[in-house]
Symmetry: D2
Subunit: 139 residues, 4 copies
Protein backbone atom coordinates (compact mmCIF):
# COMPACT_ATOMS: atom_id res chain seq x y z
CA UNK A 1 0.00 0.00 0.00
CA UNK A 2 1.22 3.48 -0.86
CA UNK A 3 1.90 5.83 2.08
CA UNK A 4 -0.59 8.68 2.34
CA UNK A 5 -1.88 11.10 4.99
CA UNK A 6 -5.06 8.99 5.12
CA UNK A 7 -5.79 5.98 7.31
CA UNK A 8 -5.72 2.43 6.05
CA UNK A 9 -8.51 0.20 7.35
CA UNK A 10 -8.88 -3.56 7.15
CA UNK A 11 -11.75 -6.04 6.98
CA UNK A 12 -11.88 -9.82 7.31
CA UNK A 13 -13.72 -11.86 4.69
CA UNK A 14 -14.03 -15.51 3.83
CA UNK A 15 -14.18 -16.97 0.31
CA UNK A 16 -17.63 -18.43 -0.44
CA UNK A 17 -18.10 -21.55 -2.60
CA UNK A 18 -20.07 -19.52 -5.15
CA UNK A 19 -16.93 -17.38 -5.67
CA UNK A 20 -14.98 -20.31 -7.13
CA UNK A 21 -14.68 -20.70 -10.90
CA UNK A 22 -13.83 -23.41 -13.41
CA UNK A 23 -10.12 -23.18 -12.53
CA UNK A 24 -10.89 -23.90 -8.87
CA UNK A 25 -9.76 -20.36 -8.07
CA UNK A 26 -11.74 -17.39 -6.85
CA UNK A 27 -13.27 -15.87 -9.99
CA UNK A 28 -11.58 -12.61 -11.04
CA UNK A 29 -14.59 -10.38 -10.72
CA UNK A 30 -15.10 -11.46 -7.09
CA UNK A 31 -11.93 -9.65 -6.00
CA UNK A 32 -13.75 -6.55 -7.03
CA UNK A 33 -16.69 -7.54 -4.85
CA UNK A 34 -14.43 -8.26 -1.87
CA UNK A 35 -12.99 -4.74 -2.02
CA UNK A 36 -16.48 -3.32 -2.37
CA UNK A 37 -17.65 -5.30 0.68
CA UNK A 38 -14.66 -4.16 2.72
CA UNK A 39 -15.19 -0.56 1.69
CA UNK A 40 -18.85 -0.67 2.73
CA UNK A 41 -17.99 -2.03 6.15
CA UNK A 42 -15.29 0.59 6.58
CA UNK A 43 -17.59 3.43 5.48
CA UNK A 44 -19.97 2.46 8.26
CA UNK A 45 -17.45 1.62 10.93
CA UNK A 46 -14.65 4.13 10.47
CA UNK A 47 -16.09 7.05 8.54
CA UNK A 48 -19.50 6.80 10.24
CA UNK A 49 -21.08 7.30 6.81
CA UNK A 50 -22.60 3.98 5.76
CA UNK A 51 -23.67 3.58 2.13
CA UNK A 52 -27.27 3.20 3.40
CA UNK A 53 -27.00 6.79 4.66
CA UNK A 54 -25.96 7.99 1.19
CA UNK A 55 -28.75 6.04 -0.46
CA UNK A 56 -31.32 7.55 1.91
CA UNK A 57 -30.27 11.11 1.12
CA UNK A 58 -30.27 10.28 -2.59
CA UNK A 59 -26.58 9.73 -3.33
CA UNK A 60 -24.36 6.80 -4.12
CA UNK A 61 -20.66 6.20 -4.65
CA UNK A 62 -19.97 4.47 -7.92
CA UNK A 63 -16.71 3.23 -9.41
CA UNK A 64 -15.50 5.17 -12.44
CA UNK A 65 -12.20 3.35 -13.05
CA UNK A 66 -10.84 0.11 -11.64
CA UNK A 67 -7.29 -1.21 -11.77
CA UNK A 68 -6.77 -4.67 -10.33
CA UNK A 69 -3.54 -6.66 -10.29
CA UNK A 70 -4.10 -10.37 -9.65
CA UNK A 71 -0.92 -11.68 -8.06
CA UNK A 72 -1.72 -15.08 -6.56
CA UNK A 73 -4.91 -17.13 -6.77
CA UNK A 74 -7.26 -17.51 -3.83
CA UNK A 75 -8.86 -20.90 -3.35
CA UNK A 76 -11.79 -22.55 -1.56
CA UNK A 77 -11.64 -22.07 2.19
CA UNK A 78 -9.29 -19.08 2.11
CA UNK A 79 -9.81 -16.24 4.53
CA UNK A 80 -8.63 -12.81 3.52
CA UNK A 81 -7.73 -9.40 4.90
CA UNK A 82 -8.84 -6.54 2.68
CA UNK A 83 -7.07 -3.23 3.32
CA UNK A 84 -8.26 0.00 1.75
CA UNK A 85 -7.38 3.63 2.12
CA UNK A 86 -7.92 6.91 0.34
CA UNK A 87 -5.10 7.94 -1.99
CA UNK A 88 -6.60 11.28 -3.06
CA UNK A 89 -9.95 13.01 -2.52
CA UNK A 90 -11.37 16.23 -3.98
CA UNK A 91 -14.80 17.57 -5.06
CA UNK A 92 -14.68 15.43 -8.22
CA UNK A 93 -14.23 12.13 -6.39
CA UNK A 94 -11.67 9.95 -4.68
CA UNK A 95 -9.12 7.29 -5.49
CA UNK A 96 -9.06 4.33 -3.10
CA UNK A 97 -6.12 1.95 -3.00
CA UNK A 98 -6.54 -1.62 -1.79
CA UNK A 99 -4.75 -4.89 -1.20
CA UNK A 100 -6.09 -8.35 -0.47
CA UNK A 101 -3.90 -10.52 1.73
CA UNK A 102 -4.39 -14.26 1.98
CA UNK A 103 -4.44 -15.09 5.72
CA UNK A 104 -3.23 -18.63 5.00
CA UNK A 105 -0.07 -17.64 3.13
CA UNK A 106 0.34 -14.06 4.42
CA UNK A 107 0.98 -13.06 0.78
CA UNK A 108 -0.77 -10.43 -1.30
CA UNK A 109 -3.38 -12.04 -3.58
CA UNK A 110 -4.27 -8.82 -5.40
CA UNK A 111 -3.89 -5.07 -5.20
CA UNK A 112 -4.89 -1.97 -7.14
CA UNK A 113 -7.09 1.08 -6.92
CA UNK A 114 -10.61 2.29 -7.71
CA UNK A 115 -11.69 5.79 -8.67
CA UNK A 116 -15.05 6.65 -7.16
CA UNK A 117 -17.45 9.44 -8.07
CA UNK A 118 -20.62 10.43 -6.30
CA UNK A 119 -23.90 10.22 -8.18
CA UNK A 120 -27.40 11.53 -7.63
CA UNK A 121 -29.45 8.31 -7.47
CA UNK A 122 -32.51 9.90 -9.14
CA UNK A 123 -30.68 11.20 -12.21
CA UNK A 124 -27.78 8.76 -12.27
CA UNK A 125 -25.49 11.72 -12.94
CA UNK A 126 -22.27 12.60 -11.15
CA UNK A 127 -22.30 15.35 -8.55
CA UNK A 128 -19.77 17.20 -6.38
CA UNK A 129 -18.39 15.75 -3.17
CA UNK A 130 -19.07 18.46 -0.57
CA UNK A 131 -16.38 19.88 1.70
CA UNK A 132 -18.17 18.31 4.65
CA UNK A 133 -17.92 14.86 3.08
CA UNK A 134 -14.28 15.41 2.14
CA UNK A 135 -13.56 16.29 5.76
CA UNK A 136 -15.40 13.20 7.00
CA UNK A 137 -13.23 11.00 4.78
CA UNK A 138 -9.99 12.84 5.59
CA UNK A 139 -9.08 10.72 8.59
Amino acid sequence: MEKTPYSIFESQLKVRPDDIDMFNHVHNSKYFDYVLAARYDQMAEHYKMPMEHFLEIGYGWVVRTAMVEFKRPLVMGDQITVRTGILTIDPKGCRVQFEIENNRTRKIAADGWFDYVMIDIRTGKGCQVTEEMIRAYSI
Copy 2:
Protein backbone atom coordinates in the same frame (compact mmCIF):
# COMPACT_ATOMS: atom_id res chain seq x y z
CA MET B 1 -36.09 -26.83 11.95
CA GLU B 2 -37.54 -30.34 12.08
CA LYS B 3 -36.39 -32.52 14.97
CA THR B 4 -34.16 -35.42 13.87
CA PRO B 5 -31.55 -37.74 15.41
CA TYR B 6 -28.91 -35.67 13.60
CA SER B 7 -27.09 -32.58 14.85
CA ILE B 8 -27.91 -29.08 13.71
CA PHE B 9 -24.91 -26.83 13.09
CA GLU B 10 -24.77 -23.11 12.56
CA SER B 11 -22.56 -20.66 10.69
CA GLN B 12 -22.30 -16.88 10.73
CA LEU B 13 -22.32 -14.96 7.45
CA LYS B 14 -22.61 -11.35 6.43
CA VAL B 15 -24.50 -10.03 3.41
CA ARG B 16 -22.13 -8.65 0.76
CA PRO B 17 -23.02 -5.61 -1.40
CA ASP B 18 -22.85 -7.77 -4.54
CA ASP B 19 -25.68 -9.88 -3.07
CA ILE B 20 -28.14 -6.99 -3.28
CA ASP B 21 -30.56 -6.76 -6.21
CA MET B 22 -32.73 -4.12 -7.88
CA PHE B 23 -35.27 -4.28 -5.03
CA ASN B 24 -32.54 -3.42 -2.50
CA HIS B 25 -32.97 -6.91 -1.06
CA VAL B 26 -30.61 -9.86 -1.08
CA HIS B 27 -31.13 -11.52 -4.47
CA ASN B 28 -33.08 -14.78 -4.22
CA SER B 29 -30.40 -17.05 -5.60
CA LYS B 30 -27.93 -15.83 -2.96
CA TYR B 31 -29.89 -17.56 -0.18
CA PHE B 32 -28.94 -20.72 -1.94
CA ASP B 33 -25.29 -19.68 -1.87
CA TYR B 34 -25.45 -18.82 1.82
CA VAL B 35 -26.68 -22.32 2.65
CA LEU B 36 -23.98 -23.81 0.43
CA ALA B 37 -21.31 -21.72 2.18
CA ALA B 38 -22.58 -22.75 5.61
CA ARG B 39 -22.68 -26.40 4.60
CA TYR B 40 -19.09 -26.29 3.34
CA ASP B 41 -17.85 -24.79 6.60
CA GLN B 42 -19.79 -27.34 8.59
CA MET B 43 -18.50 -30.27 6.49
CA ALA B 44 -14.97 -29.21 7.35
CA GLU B 45 -15.51 -28.24 10.96
CA HIS B 46 -18.04 -30.73 12.29
CA TYR B 47 -17.93 -33.76 10.00
CA LYS B 48 -14.17 -33.45 9.43
CA MET B 49 -14.83 -34.11 5.74
CA PRO B 50 -14.22 -30.86 3.87
CA MET B 51 -15.42 -30.62 0.29
CA GLU B 52 -11.76 -30.26 -0.75
CA HIS B 53 -11.22 -33.78 0.56
CA PHE B 54 -14.05 -35.10 -1.63
CA LEU B 55 -12.73 -33.26 -4.68
CA GLU B 56 -9.24 -34.71 -4.13
CA ILE B 57 -10.53 -38.29 -4.04
CA GLY B 58 -12.66 -37.59 -7.11
CA TYR B 59 -16.11 -37.03 -5.62
CA GLY B 60 -18.41 -34.11 -5.12
CA TRP B 61 -21.76 -33.48 -3.44
CA VAL B 62 -24.23 -31.86 -5.80
CA VAL B 63 -27.75 -30.64 -5.21
CA ARG B 64 -30.48 -32.67 -6.91
CA THR B 65 -33.55 -30.82 -5.60
CA ALA B 66 -33.88 -27.51 -3.80
CA MET B 67 -36.89 -26.17 -1.94
CA VAL B 68 -36.54 -22.65 -0.58
CA GLU B 69 -39.17 -20.61 1.21
CA PHE B 70 -38.40 -16.88 1.29
CA LYS B 71 -40.10 -15.46 4.36
CA ARG B 72 -38.63 -12.03 4.99
CA PRO B 73 -36.15 -10.04 2.91
CA LEU B 74 -32.56 -9.56 3.97
CA VAL B 75 -31.00 -6.19 3.29
CA MET B 76 -27.60 -4.52 3.01
CA GLY B 77 -25.58 -4.84 6.20
CA ASP B 78 -27.51 -7.79 7.61
CA GLN B 79 -25.66 -10.54 9.40
CA ILE B 80 -27.17 -14.00 9.38
CA THR B 81 -27.07 -17.32 11.17
CA VAL B 82 -27.39 -20.30 8.82
CA ARG B 83 -28.45 -23.55 10.48
CA THR B 84 -28.32 -26.85 8.64
CA GLY B 85 -28.79 -30.47 9.61
CA ILE B 86 -29.33 -33.81 7.96
CA LEU B 87 -32.97 -34.90 7.72
CA THR B 88 -32.29 -38.29 6.11
CA ILE B 89 -29.24 -40.06 4.69
CA ASP B 90 -28.86 -43.35 2.81
CA PRO B 91 -26.66 -44.77 0.02
CA LYS B 92 -28.59 -42.75 -2.59
CA GLY B 93 -27.96 -39.37 -0.93
CA CYS B 94 -29.09 -37.10 1.83
CA ARG B 95 -31.67 -34.44 2.52
CA VAL B 96 -30.40 -31.38 4.38
CA GLN B 97 -32.79 -28.96 6.06
CA PHE B 98 -31.79 -25.35 6.66
CA GLU B 99 -32.96 -22.06 8.03
CA ILE B 100 -31.49 -18.57 7.74
CA GLU B 101 -32.04 -16.30 10.71
CA ASN B 102 -31.53 -12.55 10.49
CA ASN B 103 -29.37 -11.58 13.48
CA ARG B 104 -30.81 -8.04 13.47
CA THR B 105 -34.47 -9.09 13.78
CA ARG B 106 -34.02 -12.61 15.21
CA LYS B 107 -36.62 -13.72 12.65
CA ILE B 108 -36.35 -16.45 10.02
CA ALA B 109 -35.52 -14.95 6.60
CA ALA B 110 -35.80 -18.27 4.74
CA ASP B 111 -35.95 -22.00 5.25
CA GLY B 112 -36.23 -25.18 3.22
CA TRP B 113 -34.25 -28.26 2.26
CA PHE B 114 -31.80 -29.54 -0.36
CA ASP B 115 -31.43 -33.10 -1.62
CA TYR B 116 -27.79 -33.94 -2.27
CA VAL B 117 -26.32 -36.80 -4.27
CA MET B 118 -22.69 -37.78 -4.61
CA ILE B 119 -21.08 -37.67 -8.04
CA ASP B 120 -17.89 -39.01 -9.55
CA ILE B 121 -16.16 -35.81 -10.73
CA ARG B 122 -14.58 -37.49 -13.78
CA THR B 123 -17.82 -38.90 -15.19
CA GLY B 124 -20.25 -36.43 -13.65
CA LYS B 125 -22.49 -39.40 -12.79
CA GLY B 126 -24.09 -40.14 -9.45
CA CYS B 127 -22.54 -42.79 -7.21
CA GLN B 128 -23.34 -44.53 -3.92
CA VAL B 129 -22.65 -42.93 -0.57
CA THR B 130 -20.56 -45.55 1.26
CA GLU B 131 -21.45 -46.86 4.72
CA GLU B 132 -18.34 -45.19 6.06
CA MET B 133 -19.47 -41.82 4.78
CA ILE B 134 -22.98 -42.31 6.12
CA ARG B 135 -21.50 -43.06 9.54
CA ALA B 136 -19.30 -39.96 9.36
CA TYR B 137 -22.38 -37.82 8.72
CA SER B 138 -24.54 -39.56 11.32
CA ILE B 139 -23.61 -37.32 14.18
Copy 3:
Protein backbone atom coordinates in the same frame (compact mmCIF):
# COMPACT_ATOMS: atom_id res chain seq x y z
CA MET C 1 -44.50 -28.92 -18.33
CA GLU C 2 -47.93 -29.36 -16.83
CA LYS C 3 -50.89 -28.60 -19.13
CA THR C 4 -52.81 -25.48 -18.11
CA PRO C 5 -55.16 -22.96 -19.74
CA TYR C 6 -52.22 -20.52 -19.79
CA SER C 7 -49.63 -20.04 -22.51
CA ILE C 8 -46.11 -21.38 -22.28
CA PHE C 9 -43.41 -19.02 -23.55
CA GLU C 10 -39.77 -19.70 -24.27
CA SER C 11 -36.52 -17.73 -24.21
CA GLN C 12 -33.05 -18.51 -25.48
CA LEU C 13 -30.05 -18.03 -23.20
CA LYS C 14 -26.39 -18.92 -23.29
CA VAL C 15 -24.30 -20.09 -20.34
CA ARG C 16 -21.70 -17.45 -19.34
CA PRO C 17 -18.23 -18.39 -18.03
CA ASP C 18 -19.00 -16.73 -14.70
CA ASP C 19 -21.88 -19.21 -14.25
CA ILE C 20 -19.47 -22.18 -14.03
CA ASP C 21 -18.48 -23.55 -10.64
CA MET C 22 -15.74 -25.71 -9.15
CA PHE C 23 -17.29 -28.87 -10.64
CA ASN C 24 -17.09 -27.36 -14.15
CA HIS C 25 -20.89 -27.28 -14.17
CA VAL C 26 -23.27 -24.36 -14.15
CA HIS C 27 -23.58 -23.37 -10.49
CA ASN C 28 -26.95 -24.37 -8.96
CA SER C 29 -28.12 -20.90 -8.09
CA LYS C 30 -27.67 -19.75 -11.70
CA TYR C 31 -30.58 -21.93 -12.87
CA PHE C 32 -32.67 -19.71 -10.72
CA ASP C 33 -31.25 -16.66 -12.48
CA TYR C 34 -31.88 -18.16 -15.92
CA VAL C 35 -35.58 -18.62 -15.12
CA LEU C 36 -35.72 -15.09 -13.74
CA ALA C 37 -34.12 -13.71 -16.91
CA ALA C 38 -36.53 -15.66 -19.12
CA ARG C 39 -39.48 -14.50 -17.10
CA TYR C 40 -38.43 -10.85 -17.39
CA ASP C 41 -38.11 -11.11 -21.15
CA GLN C 42 -41.47 -12.82 -21.38
CA MET C 43 -43.16 -10.23 -19.15
CA ALA C 44 -42.06 -7.54 -21.58
CA GLU C 45 -42.59 -9.40 -24.82
CA HIS C 46 -45.72 -11.46 -24.26
CA TYR C 47 -47.59 -9.88 -21.38
CA LYS C 48 -46.62 -6.31 -22.37
CA MET C 49 -45.92 -5.64 -18.70
CA PRO C 50 -42.15 -5.36 -18.30
CA MET C 51 -40.73 -5.42 -14.78
CA GLU C 52 -39.49 -1.84 -15.38
CA HIS C 53 -43.15 -0.84 -15.66
CA PHE C 54 -43.91 -2.40 -12.26
CA LEU C 55 -40.89 -0.75 -10.68
CA GLU C 56 -41.94 2.65 -12.03
CA ILE C 57 -45.42 2.38 -10.52
CA GLY C 58 -43.92 1.18 -7.25
CA TYR C 59 -44.45 -2.59 -7.42
CA GLY C 60 -42.27 -5.61 -7.87
CA TRP C 61 -42.78 -9.35 -8.26
CA VAL C 62 -40.76 -11.32 -5.77
CA VAL C 63 -40.35 -15.04 -5.31
CA ARG C 64 -41.95 -16.49 -2.16
CA THR C 65 -41.17 -20.18 -2.72
CA ALA C 66 -38.87 -21.90 -5.18
CA MET C 67 -38.75 -25.59 -6.09
CA VAL C 68 -35.98 -26.60 -8.48
CA GLU C 69 -35.15 -30.10 -9.66
CA PHE C 70 -31.66 -30.38 -11.14
CA LYS C 71 -31.76 -33.24 -13.62
CA ARG C 72 -28.65 -32.99 -15.78
CA PRO C 73 -25.70 -30.60 -15.50
CA LEU C 74 -25.18 -27.75 -17.93
CA VAL C 75 -21.61 -27.02 -18.96
CA MET C 76 -19.51 -24.23 -20.51
CA GLY C 77 -20.73 -23.27 -23.97
CA ASP C 78 -24.24 -24.70 -23.55
CA GLN C 79 -27.19 -22.84 -24.99
CA ILE C 80 -30.56 -23.32 -23.35
CA THR C 81 -34.26 -22.90 -23.93
CA VAL C 82 -36.14 -21.70 -20.85
CA ARG C 83 -39.89 -22.32 -20.94
CA THR C 84 -42.20 -20.78 -18.36
CA GLY C 85 -45.94 -20.56 -17.93
CA ILE C 86 -48.45 -19.67 -15.26
CA LEU C 87 -49.85 -22.64 -13.34
CA THR C 88 -52.26 -20.65 -11.16
CA ILE C 89 -52.91 -16.95 -10.55
CA ASP C 90 -55.16 -15.17 -8.05
CA PRO C 91 -55.11 -11.94 -6.01
CA LYS C 92 -52.55 -13.44 -3.61
CA GLY C 93 -49.99 -14.25 -6.29
CA CYS C 94 -49.12 -16.73 -9.00
CA ARG C 95 -47.29 -19.99 -9.43
CA VAL C 96 -45.03 -20.19 -12.47
CA GLN C 97 -43.77 -23.52 -13.76
CA PHE C 98 -40.55 -23.75 -15.77
CA GLU C 99 -38.21 -26.10 -17.54
CA ILE C 100 -34.71 -25.57 -18.90
CA GLU C 101 -33.82 -27.57 -21.98
CA ASN C 102 -30.23 -28.02 -23.11
CA ASN C 103 -30.18 -27.21 -26.84
CA ARG C 104 -27.14 -29.44 -27.36
CA THR C 105 -28.68 -32.62 -25.93
CA ARG C 106 -32.39 -31.73 -26.28
CA LYS C 107 -32.81 -33.02 -22.72
CA ILE C 108 -34.28 -31.27 -19.70
CA ALA C 109 -31.53 -29.86 -17.47
CA ALA C 110 -33.89 -28.68 -14.73
CA ASP C 111 -37.52 -28.01 -13.99
CA GLY C 112 -39.70 -26.78 -11.13
CA TRP C 113 -41.89 -23.89 -10.11
CA PHE C 114 -41.74 -20.52 -8.36
CA ASP C 115 -44.47 -18.85 -6.29
CA TYR C 116 -44.48 -15.11 -6.85
CA VAL C 117 -46.15 -12.40 -4.79
CA MET C 118 -46.41 -8.72 -5.58
CA ILE C 119 -44.81 -6.22 -3.23
CA ASP C 120 -45.01 -2.49 -2.71
CA ILE C 121 -41.41 -1.38 -3.30
CA ARG C 122 -41.58 1.43 -0.73
CA THR C 123 -42.78 -0.74 2.16
CA GLY C 124 -41.41 -4.08 0.99
CA LYS C 125 -44.78 -5.60 1.99
CA GLY C 126 -46.95 -7.90 -0.11
CA CYS C 127 -50.02 -6.47 -1.85
CA GLN C 128 -52.95 -7.76 -3.90
CA VAL C 129 -52.67 -8.57 -7.57
CA THR C 130 -55.46 -6.54 -9.19
CA GLU C 131 -58.10 -8.07 -11.47
CA GLU C 132 -56.64 -6.05 -14.34
CA MET C 133 -53.22 -7.59 -13.81
CA ILE C 134 -54.69 -11.08 -13.48
CA ARG C 135 -56.44 -10.57 -16.82
CA ALA C 136 -53.23 -9.31 -18.45
CA TYR C 137 -51.44 -12.49 -17.36
CA SER C 138 -54.32 -14.81 -18.28
CA ILE C 139 -53.23 -15.43 -21.84
Copy 4:
Protein backbone atom coordinates in the same frame (compact mmCIF):
# COMPACT_ATOMS: atom_id res chain seq x y z
CA MET D 1 -10.51 0.80 -29.66
CA GLU D 2 -6.82 1.27 -30.42
CA LYS D 3 -5.71 0.39 -33.96
CA THR D 4 -3.52 -2.71 -34.11
CA PRO D 5 -2.47 -5.30 -36.69
CA TYR D 6 -4.88 -7.71 -34.96
CA SER D 7 -8.55 -8.27 -35.68
CA ILE D 8 -11.34 -6.91 -33.50
CA PHE D 9 -14.24 -9.28 -32.92
CA GLU D 10 -17.64 -8.59 -31.46
CA SER D 11 -20.25 -10.51 -29.48
CA GLN D 12 -23.84 -9.75 -28.56
CA LEU D 13 -24.98 -10.11 -24.96
CA LYS D 14 -28.03 -9.17 -22.98
CA VAL D 15 -28.08 -7.86 -19.41
CA ARG D 16 -29.60 -10.41 -16.99
CA PRO D 17 -31.72 -9.37 -13.97
CA ASP D 18 -29.16 -10.93 -11.63
CA ASP D 19 -26.58 -8.45 -13.01
CA ILE D 20 -28.46 -5.47 -11.57
CA ASP D 21 -27.34 -3.94 -8.28
CA MET D 22 -28.77 -1.69 -5.57
CA PHE D 23 -28.38 1.38 -7.81
CA ASN D 24 -30.54 -0.25 -10.50
CA HIS D 25 -27.44 -0.38 -12.69
CA VAL D 26 -25.43 -3.33 -13.92
CA HIS D 27 -23.08 -4.18 -11.06
CA ASN D 28 -19.47 -3.15 -11.77
CA SER D 29 -17.94 -6.59 -11.59
CA LYS D 30 -20.36 -7.88 -14.24
CA TYR D 31 -18.68 -5.78 -16.94
CA PHE D 32 -15.71 -7.95 -16.30
CA ASP D 33 -17.84 -11.05 -16.81
CA TYR D 34 -19.30 -9.69 -20.05
CA VAL D 35 -15.83 -9.25 -21.52
CA LEU D 36 -14.87 -12.72 -20.34
CA ALA D 37 -17.98 -14.20 -21.96
CA ALA D 38 -17.30 -12.37 -25.23
CA ARG D 39 -13.69 -13.49 -25.22
CA TYR D 40 -14.68 -17.14 -24.71
CA ASP D 41 -17.09 -17.02 -27.62
CA GLN D 42 -14.51 -15.35 -29.80
CA MET D 43 -11.80 -17.87 -28.85
CA ALA D 44 -14.04 -20.66 -30.09
CA GLU D 45 -15.48 -18.94 -33.13
CA HIS D 46 -12.62 -16.88 -34.55
CA TYR D 47 -9.42 -18.37 -33.20
CA LYS D 48 -10.75 -21.94 -33.32
CA MET D 49 -9.20 -22.47 -29.88
CA PRO D 50 -12.06 -22.70 -27.38
CA MET D 51 -11.20 -22.48 -23.69
CA GLU D 52 -12.51 -26.06 -23.33
CA HIS D 53 -9.63 -27.15 -25.61
CA PHE D 54 -7.10 -25.44 -23.33
CA LEU D 55 -8.65 -26.98 -20.23
CA GLU D 56 -8.49 -30.46 -21.80
CA ILE D 57 -4.78 -30.17 -22.58
CA GLY D 58 -4.16 -28.81 -19.09
CA TYR D 59 -3.91 -25.06 -19.67
CA GLY D 60 -5.99 -22.03 -18.91
CA TRP D 61 -5.83 -18.33 -19.67
CA VAL D 62 -6.10 -16.22 -16.55
CA VAL D 63 -6.24 -12.48 -16.08
CA ARG D 64 -3.16 -10.92 -14.47
CA THR D 65 -4.16 -7.26 -14.64
CA ALA D 66 -7.48 -5.61 -15.40
CA MET D 67 -8.15 -1.96 -16.21
CA VAL D 68 -11.78 -1.02 -16.63
CA GLU D 69 -13.20 2.43 -17.26
CA PHE D 70 -16.93 2.70 -16.48
CA LYS D 71 -18.29 5.47 -18.68
CA ARG D 72 -22.08 5.16 -18.65
CA PRO D 73 -24.31 2.82 -16.65
CA LEU D 74 -26.09 -0.13 -18.23
CA VAL D 75 -29.59 -0.86 -17.00
CA MET D 76 -32.17 -3.66 -16.96
CA GLY D 77 -33.12 -4.78 -20.45
CA ASP D 78 -30.03 -3.37 -22.18
CA GLN D 79 -28.41 -5.33 -24.97
CA ILE D 80 -24.73 -4.82 -25.56
CA THR D 81 -22.01 -5.32 -28.15
CA VAL D 82 -18.70 -6.41 -26.67
CA ARG D 83 -15.67 -5.85 -28.90
CA THR D 84 -12.29 -7.31 -28.05
CA GLY D 85 -8.97 -7.54 -29.85
CA ILE D 86 -5.37 -8.35 -29.06
CA LEU D 87 -3.17 -5.33 -28.40
CA THR D 88 0.09 -7.25 -27.91
CA ILE D 89 1.04 -10.93 -27.65
CA ASP D 90 4.34 -12.62 -26.81
CA PRO D 91 5.52 -15.77 -24.98
CA LYS D 92 4.76 -14.14 -21.61
CA GLY D 93 1.11 -13.43 -22.39
CA CYS D 94 -1.18 -11.05 -24.19
CA ARG D 95 -2.98 -7.78 -23.61
CA VAL D 96 -6.58 -7.69 -24.83
CA GLN D 97 -8.41 -4.38 -25.30
CA PHE D 98 -12.20 -4.21 -25.11
CA GLU D 99 -15.16 -1.91 -25.30
CA ILE D 100 -18.80 -2.46 -24.39
CA GLU D 101 -21.32 -0.56 -26.49
CA ASN D 102 -24.91 -0.11 -25.37
CA ASN D 103 -27.08 -1.07 -28.37
CA ARG D 104 -29.89 1.17 -27.15
CA THR D 105 -27.85 4.39 -27.00
CA ARG D 106 -24.99 3.44 -29.36
CA LYS D 107 -22.65 4.87 -26.73
CA ILE D 108 -19.68 3.22 -25.02
CA ALA D 109 -20.65 1.93 -21.56
CA ALA D 110 -17.12 0.83 -20.63
CA ASP D 111 -13.71 0.14 -22.09
CA GLY D 112 -10.28 -0.98 -20.95
CA TRP D 113 -7.85 -3.86 -21.25
CA PHE D 114 -6.93 -7.16 -19.59
CA ASP D 115 -3.48 -8.77 -19.41
CA TYR D 116 -3.73 -12.53 -19.72
CA VAL D 117 -1.15 -15.17 -18.87
CA MET D 118 -1.32 -18.88 -19.52
CA ILE D 119 -1.26 -21.25 -16.57
CA ASP D 120 -0.73 -24.96 -16.13
CA ILE D 121 -4.00 -26.07 -14.51
CA ARG D 122 -2.32 -28.77 -12.39
CA THR D 123 0.25 -26.50 -10.81
CA GLY D 124 -1.58 -23.20 -11.11
CA LYS D 125 1.71 -21.66 -12.27
CA GLY D 126 2.25 -19.47 -15.31
CA CYS D 127 3.80 -21.00 -18.44
CA GLN D 128 5.03 -19.82 -21.85
CA VAL D 129 2.67 -19.17 -24.73
CA THR D 130 4.08 -21.30 -27.58
CA GLU D 131 4.90 -19.89 -31.00
CA GLU D 132 2.10 -22.01 -32.45
CA MET D 133 -0.44 -20.43 -30.12
CA ILE D 134 0.90 -16.93 -30.82
CA ARG D 135 0.43 -17.60 -34.54
CA ALA D 136 -3.09 -18.87 -33.99
CA TYR D 137 -4.00 -15.64 -32.19
CA SER D 138 -2.20 -13.39 -34.70
CA ILE D 139 -5.14 -12.89 -37.00
